[in-house]
Amino acid sequence: MKVLSRFCYVFAGACALASSAQAQVPNLVQGTFSIETPYYVSGSTTPTNQGCMIIGNSGQSDVPSLYDWGMGNYTCGLDAVNWQEMWEVYALSANNTLVHVIKSRVNGKCLIRGQSGAAASPSLYLWPTSSYTEYCGFSNAKDLISNGQAAWDLSAVLPYADSGGIVYYQGPARHAMSPNPYLAFSPLPSSAPSRVADNSWGVFTTDTLNKWELHLKSMTNWD
């Protein structure tokens, strides 16, 4: 039996194995999330959350950075929802290619790798080609995927359940364009999670020893 891929679900301290039948289903991440950033220093199997991926400078920045407000019990150390930490993530497909869009709720701009996929850092952008912001300003999913700069590979961002039973996603995020670098942050915050705003910025890396992941936490509470 050919196994196409492998993954596990984690719940209640256990790891459930997925069958090969399950592995053939494409991994889809959709929703509105805050995104924490587990970081594995080389050789470690225990990550440290470096903070949330946010849009700093009161939402005016074009490059994501790490931050934890340290004020409350909500995600990212917040005491209320803040758009700076919220991201829309959803899947698009065309020509048998499945990608994900990552969009800031601050301004509706998409997280891209500019300079035709060669930029050193991710940035927020909307193309002026059309008013279809769902395609990051392209006219359709095909054009977005063909351009590639707003296309993300989240195939390794996998579901798991926390001790309370709510399902989240975690794993490394890669840009979809070759050479598929990983999303990371630099410099490493001096303390974790980062309490220094606009200090540790998003970058692309091919470093597979010091690993960054995204931990997507869905909004679940309406009181």
């Binding site: 039948a21 199997t45 039973g165």
Partner: protein
């Protein structure tokens, strides 16, 4: 062949032994969706909560005012459903919550074939619809939806769509439908049909579409 290693690192850094291999693909859906009700290939409209989301019940409707989902001029909270997965050791279920008030879509008590928008008062945290825990939500069953029969497809715009029947509990248990079938598709008259459960519910299926992103 079953894999015996954990690719996803645990927050605790420990991956315990192999457990519970599953044999069927299980939908895992999180996000805000329009949910359209389809019967015999005809789309009868979106699931909505009348009275701007404050009614006790749910129905299907299409505003027919635009090409947006549900025919609305813009996303309306009464037609938006926040869906997320809850996992216990033995079950994965989904919660269906209306965005207007945060109430859950719940089967009425006593095995009724009717539904209401409801939050239990047992817990101030409404993550589990006001139930005390994920296990309590699963044990009660009335707000624990089974998405295992939903299939991943694409809509015409390239967005991922999930399509299939909706059950409470396990397939073969009560299946969501509407009665009577509205006279036209899409349905443009509020109050002409109500949700119901039956063994097959008249073969209604549901489409979960993400709202266009603003």
């Amino acid at each position: 062949m079953k894999w015996t290693t954990c690719v996803l690192p645990l927050l605790s850094g420990i991956c315990l032994a192999s457990v519970v291999p599953t044999t069927a693909a299980q939908a895992l859906i999180q996000g805000t969706y329009a949910i359209s009700a389809v019967k015999n290939g005809a789309n009868y409209g979106c699931m909505i909560v009348p009275d701007s989301g404050h009614a006790n019940g749910m129905t299907i409707y299409n505003w027919s005012a635009s090409d947006w989902l549900c025919g609305a001029d813009a996303p309306l909270e009464q037609a938006q459903w926040f869906v997320y997965a809850v996992q216990t050791a033995a079950a994965r279920v989904h919660i269906i919550k209306n965005l207007a008030t945060g109430r859950c879509l719940v089967r009425d008590a006593g095995g009724a074939n009717t539904l209401s928008m409801y939050l239990w008062p047992d817990n101030t945290d409404k993550t589990y619809c006001g139930q005390a825990s994920a296990q309590a939500l699963v044990n009660d069953g009335r707000a624990a939806w089974n998405f295992n029969s939903l299939q991943y497809t694409l809509n015409n715009a390239g967005f991922v769509r999930f399509t299939g029947p909706l059950y409470l509990g396990q397939p073969g248990y009560p299946r969501l439908g509407f009665t009577p079938t509205p006279p036209t598709a899409p349905n443009r008259v509020v109050g002409t049909t109500s949700p119901t459960f039956s063994s097959d519910a008249g073969a209604w299926t549901f489409r979960f579409d993400t709202w266009p992103q603003d």
